[in-house]
Amino acid sequence: MLTPEPCAIACDGRILACDARTAARGVAPGLALTAACALVPHLAVRPRDPAGETEALLGLAAWATQFTPSVALEFPDARFPHAQLSSTHTLVLEIEASLKLFGGTAPILATARRELAAMGFTARIASAPTAKSAVWLARAGREVALDPARLATGLADLPLRLLDCGADTCAALAAIGASTIGDLLRLPRDGVARRFGRHLLDEIDRALGRLPDPRTFFTPPPRFHARLDLAAEVTQAEMLLFAARRLVVQLAGFLAARSGGVQRLALQLFHRETHATEVAIGLVAPSRDAEHFTRLLRERLDTLGLRAPVRAIALVAENIVPLAGEPLALFGDGGETGGNGGTGDWAKLVERLRARLGAAAVHGVATAAEHRPERATRQVEPVAAERRRLPPRLPSRAAALRSAGTGVRPFWLLAQPRPLEEIGAVPHHGGPLVLLAGPERIESGWWDGGDVARDYFIAETRDHAVVWVFRERRAPGGWFLHGLFA
């Protein structure tokens, strides 16, 4: 993380990790956040992002598969939420089968170290004859390559806290003066088992290779990527669509096999000379409907001017989400007119409008609880699920009493209030206005710099149109037209 200020990551009011500048001022993981802030006044504090951490580790696991298909992950132990990041996120690689290919342990470690550094990660790397011993060595910061003969001696002076045996057991062991694996092994085995359980000894036995230590290996996440080289260079969108259709079907099959859907896909167009063009498609809701995908692609390709002839295409889809079985064909053939008015058709209509007009031009409208009229509505994503939602139950009488009712609002609100001429204290809009109701005073919005102080009136123009006007309460004052009633 690069920030101009010293920075740290906090979790539950404690420092979890910090950068070098912060550490230099006395902050260390585990310190209370308030204490850290007292030490480093300008400390930029970020909350912990467990999802981000997981994503990063998964990415690294995928990267690690270059060394061996057998990659296992160890995530932070929920029992120790404040443990240092570096000692909790662990990748375990079984490299025995890859040694020949890479020419031994050293080249693998060197490559890993180099590439991890290039990716901006700090890592501690150790290798040992068993998975567990390698993990412990790495967590202990012993970046060694241990050969089988020295396994037992190499582990003897490792601290017992590396074993995931819980803080209580660790403390109990420390209390009798056993702080390393060697110390523990020197105690009477029966006595230890009776006091602290077999688990501890089993762990050590796994590390020493006396007990098996099976692991679940990482499987790369599903991702759809299919490429099609075109027989001849294509210059027409319609022809591309025909070719793309083959990949779309493939995608639909891929998704169906996984009971999944996607909300985003991309068609890549490869040209001879220039780099590829990407046509990205976003959906309102996840889907695996091939017809639907095709229609959306058609809309986009129709409006897309091809920069250059296309030699090959590829369809890419990531982030596959679970999607229950969907009756694909039942309403899907309803056609472009969308006869039955179901939500699916409505969603498709929105997508097609957006494909033609651009995403920004089409949006939904929702009311916002705001006194300032210009902020009482807001743009929202068109939501397909429900077009109209009733409150789950009517508010209680007491609540109704407390919430002040808002007044009548015009259907059409001007984007900007328009100043009105004032003649003899009477506002004019194509002639003098007759004030029908008001003033409704609105003074609100100071917190975002948009404070208003206005007296609103409903007024009638000379040609009997009803308008909404206000008098500015602050200097220099004046009358403004703000809305038109239908």
């Binding site: 906090a10 009798i176 003066g177 006595g191 109704a400 919430s403 002040a404 109701a437 409704e440």
Partner: protein
């Protein structure tokens, strides 16, 4: 011509997080606008009404007491008290609503008003509801009928026209409602603030109430600032004249003033056939015989007669009887107690056993504290042992019942820190930012400091959000936030207390509090008895009990020999760790200079090291005069009469007031008003009229401008922190008794202090260190010898102190008591035997192992842990059969490890001081010991290091921090000036082992090390857990 108007619906900030103005502000504004009357109608509360009443009296405004209520199954109402009876009914209704709900809420139903509240007027408060169609009836019609039935001829519909969407239409609907229901309309304002400018604060309060940022509050915010006290010219434009005129008719029917409240004393304390006066005389006579077995001195007899006559005249006997009853209860239970306060040091109180301060010892005049002129109840605070005060409180509830006795409220107000936190959140700052801001204000409060602190915390005070925050925080500070219970102020009534003031639930179960605080009670002249908790009384009782047991005869406070020179010699050396009141750093540095030599010197010592005398600049003149460096002079004979006992320097609060009388011509009543104003000026200001009056009075009596200025400065200094002689005298007695115990019974004294923790300035480690320095043998916690409490064991030449199992962190008292019980049956054979017979679970066993309390059974700590881990605690068929198992030969822990473990479990060690272990290293760093520093001459450049055992930042010492460093030879007293503390904040606040480079300052025996540079050597300590008591 402006219309007359009375505002009938107005919330103060005692409707927490709704009202945005103080009662005083509302009253002041209403008076300035020329309102005919103002009703204070806080939501189900009368908490703000006394303040409003006082302000209204000053402003000459008519005040109406009332309350806004939202019925759970009905409409919103405003109820107004017409008379004393109506007020009582309203107070009872509010009590019912509050008692029916958790703290801070209320719950009232239509049924609660079924009888109609007699002698009260009712306003129906419509919201924004409108009929579904023009033809449909108004939604409130049924409510209006309901109200009209119950409040026939005394109910109105409030027309609150607040520039809503269409006021004209709203008014038309209300007129229709009035017509159909037969209830008249009256104008009202739903006032939430005294001026429009409070709108932002009002929005912020809404946001705090809802727990969201302002921007997310939507329609919960008021649309405009109309809910303020509006100018009458605007009211005239807004309302039809007849609705405004109606407000006056409503106001006229409310004839009740809080002045009509009279306190009625409980009656049952007087036996049949006696009057309060005759009964008090009987008790006093009995006390005289008890106190003066050898015959009553003539002077005391005269004093008694004088006091009884005065009490009879003022009819205060029932108050003294009430206090006497409480004290007698405590005495019967063996609970140590001591009265103090304005009336406590009278001869009558001495005879009643309320105080131990012998009137023959003192020369205070009773009249000074109970005056003829001031028609107000006397004030007696009674301190009880802090560990047993609850028994006294429950006695009061049991004796008088919850209807008649309740605790006084303490109004918790916004401080800088809480205001920053709440406003910050309301403005939508991120939580870490808000916390950072708030915590950087933790120790250094104050409005002036705010911009600096903001900058330090990394915020730009000039940015709009921060500027807004600063402005809002400034307004919010001092706002009441909630009612809490006073530490012990009881109000006891003759009949139902809830007819005097509403009672609500406290956060603690079994407690109830009234809605008024002590200032409110004071202002109305209502009686209260302070039942306070004092740790030192617990300690003294423990110590006396141990001394009694050792001597084989009862030993009480009265048996402590008075005026012992050895005690004063010890006190003059500032050898006072653990002694009541005079153990703080500030007190300790004063003692060698003041060199107390008699009881009255202790009274002065207690009073002089206070912010009042210090800020008033009285300390140095007094010391110089005492040391004979400056002549004792008086500007006049009159002043001499007031100040002669204190060498011409005012030290007690009473003296300052007496000065106002003799030097400026105040009447005693005026002087008392001055005292009240003094107590409040920092919060409210308002001393200026007194300043003028005081200075003019002194000029007129021929005193110089300098003298007048000096007296006024002293009054300001005393304002917040003045300490009355009456309190000092009671405290001084405890000072003397505790100092005597420390001097002659150091083991018992230390054990008693340990058994009374937490209390005082020092942690157990320092108390034990101090005892050992005084040659007390301290023995470790041991399951084969210790009780729960620390105790005395025979020893030579003096009794030894055995640490009790209460010192063991985490060990439950019940477990310790089982250990003692099982041990008495038969000594323990092993850890297993102990676990079995004392039924200890593994947790308790581990605690004992951690404390090294199993040494006699298992050997060193590691062995103890090994045994404890091996104990089978689950029920087991063969549990009683001993386990045959070889014990491993575990190496003994190192001295350092033992030390860390000792501190971890006990908070102290009986082994070597941690710094003794580090001394070779420290010596290489050329750091001197405390003993060496103590021996250095003035001005020597020196460096020292020690464990930080205390950081004190007295309010009196502008930004100076006193740090106490402890090493194996004693303590170093370090002074850190503000410039250094801001530069080396991290070392100052963070270091556990602190190195100080500085200069020795010596004044007689008082030695300080004035720091020039600080160094954090905490890394040398490793995991050693040193505890510091920070910032008293």
């Amino acid at each position: 011509m402006l219309p007359e108007y009375a505002e009938l619906h107005c919330l103060t900030n005692f409707t927490f997080l709704r009202g945005a103005s103080h009662p005083e502000e509302l009253v002041g504004r209403a008076a300035a606008l020329g309102y005919a009357a103002l009703a204070v109608t806080d939501e189900c509360s009368l908490a703000g009404v006394v303040r409003a009443h006082i302000a209204a009296k000053d402003a000459g405004l008519k005040l109406i007491a009332g309350s806004e209520l939202l019925l759970e199954d009905g409409p919103k109402l405003v109820l107004l008290a017409q008379s004393r009876a109506g007020y009582g009914n309203l107070a009872e209704l509010v009590t019912r609503g509050r008692r029916n709900a958790e703290k801070g809420r209320y719950r009232l139903m239509r049924a609660d008003l079924d009888g109609g509240l007699a002698d009260c007027l009712a306003l129906l408060v419509p919201g924004a509801e409108a009929p579904a169609s023009p033809a449909a009836p108004h939604p409130l019609l049924a409510d209006a009928h309901w109200l009209a039935e119950r409040f026939s001829g005394r109910a109105w519909i409030a027309a609150e026209l607040l520039c809503g969407p269409d006021d004209r239409a709203a008014l038309a609907r209300l007129r229709a409602l009035a017509r159909e229901s037969g209830l008249p309309l009256v104008a009202a304002g739903d006032v939430h603030m005294h001026v429009r400018l409070r709108r932002r604060l009002q929005d912020v309060l809404t946001a705090i109430r809802l727990g969201r940022p302002v921007r997310a509050c939507g329609h919960a915010l008021h649309p405009n600032a109309e809910r303020s006290l509006r100018m009458r010219v605007r009211l005239a434009q807004t309302y039809p004249a007849e609705l405004l005129a109606e407000t006056l008719r409503v106001a006229e029917r409310c004839g009740f003033s809080l002045d009509a409240l009279r306190y009625e004393y409980p009656e049952e304390l007087v036996p049949p056939g006696e009057t309060p006066a005759s009964h008090l005389r009987k008790l006093t006579e009995a006390g005289l015989t008890w106190r003066f077995p050898g015959g009553v001195p003539e002077r005391v007899r005269a004093l008694i007669e004088h006091e009884l006559a005065l009490l009879a005249e003022l009819r205060y006997e029932p108050y003294f009887l009430t206090v006497h009853d409480i004290v007698r209860f405590a005495r019967d239970r063996g609970i140590l107690c001591q009265g103090r306060g304005s009336a406590a040091n009278s001869a009558v109180c001495y005879c009643l056993g309320i105080t131990e301060v012998d009137p023959a010892r003192m020369s205070m005049l009773f009249e000074r504290f109970v005056s003829r002129e001031r028609d107000e109840p006397p004030d007696i605070d009674v301190d009880f042992e802090h560990q047993r005060r609850e028994e006294v409180i429950q006695h009061i509830y049991a004796k008088y019942g919850r209807d008649r006795a309740a605790l006084t409220a303490t109004v918790i107000t916004y401080r800088a820190k809480s205001a920053v936190r709440d406003v910050g959140r309301a403005l939508g700052l991120e939580l870490p930012q808000v916390d950072r801001l708030a915590s950087s204000l933790a120790w250094w409060d104050g409005r002036k400091a705010l911009p600096d602190r903001l900058r330090e915390a990394g915020f730009d005070p000039a940015s709009p959000v921060i500027a807004q925050l600063v402005a809002l925080v400034g307004m919010l500070i001092g706002f009441p936030r909630h009612l809490s219970q006073h530490t012990g102020g009881f109000v006891i009534a003759r009949d139902r207390l809830s007819r005097l003031v509403p009672i609500e639930n406290a956060a603690m179960p079994d407690r109830s509090v009234i809605q008024w605080d002590k200032d409110d009670l004071d202002a109305l002249g209502l009686l209260k008895v302070d039942v306070l908790a004092l740790g030192m009384l617990s300690a003294i009782r423990h110590a006396l009990a141990m001394v009694s047991a050792c001597r084989g005869a009862p030993f009480t406070i009265a048996d402590v020999p008075p005026e012992d020179p050895g005690v004063y010699e010890m006190v003059s050396r500032a050898d006072t760790v653990g002694v009541f009141q005079i153990e703080s750093r500030a007190q300790m540095s004063m003692l060698p200079r003041l060199r107390p030599a008699c009881f009255f010197d202790l009274v002065i010592e207690v009073a002089i090291v206070r912010p009042g005398p210090i800020q008033g600049g009285m300390v140095h003149p007094y010391l110089r005069r005492r040391q004979g460096l400056e002549p004792v002079t008086y500007p006049s004979e009159a002043v001499r009469s007031v100040l002669s006992r204190t060498l011409g320097v005012p030290i007690f609060q009473e003296q300052v007031m007496a000065l106002a009388v003799v030097a400026a011509g105040f009447t005693p009543g005026e002087a008392d008003r001055l005292r009240r104003a003094m107590a409040a000026w920092r919060r409210k200001g308002g001393l200026e009229p007194f300043e003028q009056r005081l200075k003019e009075g002194m000029r007129a009596r021929g005193y110089g401008e300098d003298f007048a200025d000096q007296i006024y400065r002293q009054i300001l200094g005393f304002g917040e922190y003045g300490f009355p002689e009456s309190h000092s005298a009671s405290f001084a007695l405890l000072v003397y008794v505790s100092a005597w115990l420390k001097r002659y019974e150091p083991a018992a004294f230390c054990a008693a202090l340990l058994n009374s923790q937490p209390m005082g300035f020092y942690a157990p480690a320092q108390l034990v260190q101090d005892a050992r320095r005084h040659h007390v043998e301290v023995r470790p916690v041991d399951v084969t010898a210790s009780a729960w409490d620390c105790s005395l064991e025979p020893g030579a030449p003096a009794p030894a102190l055995r640490l009790g199992m209460r010192m063991v962190k985490g060990l439950p008292q019940a477990a310790a008591e089982r250990i003692v019980g099982a041990r008495e049956a038969q000594p323990f054979a092993s850890v297993d035997d102990l676990a079995r017979r004392a039924a200890l679970d593994r947790r308790a066993l581990k605690c004992l192992a951690a404390a090294d309390a199993l040494a006699a059974l298992a050997g060193h700590r590691r062995m103890a842990y090994w045994h404890v881990a091996g104990v089978e605690t689950a029920p087991h068929l063969l549990r009683d059969a001993p386990f045959l198992e070889a014990a491993p030969a575990l190496a003994a822990p190192s001295e350092g490890e033992r030390l860390v473990a000792d501190y971890g479990s006990l908070g102290l060690t009986l082994g070597r001081h941690p710094l003794a272990l580090l001394r070779p290293r420290l010596a290489r760093m050329r750091l001197a010991t405390a003993a060496e520093i103590q021996a250095m001459p003035h001005g020597r450049i020196a460096r020292a290091a020690g464990i930080v055992t205390g950081r004190q930042r007295p309010d009196t010492a502008s930004g100076v921090v006193f740090v106490t460093l402890e090493d194996e030879t004693g303590c170093v007293n370090v002074i850190v000036w503000r410039s250094l503390s801001s530069r080396q904040r991290r070392e100052l606040l963070g270091a556990r082992l602190l190195g100080v480079y500085g200069t020795v300052e010596r004044e007689g025996e008082v030695v300080h090390l004035v720091a020039r540079r600080l160094a954090d050597h905490s890394d040398l300590l490793g995991r050693l857990a040193a505890r510091s008591r920070d910032f008293h």
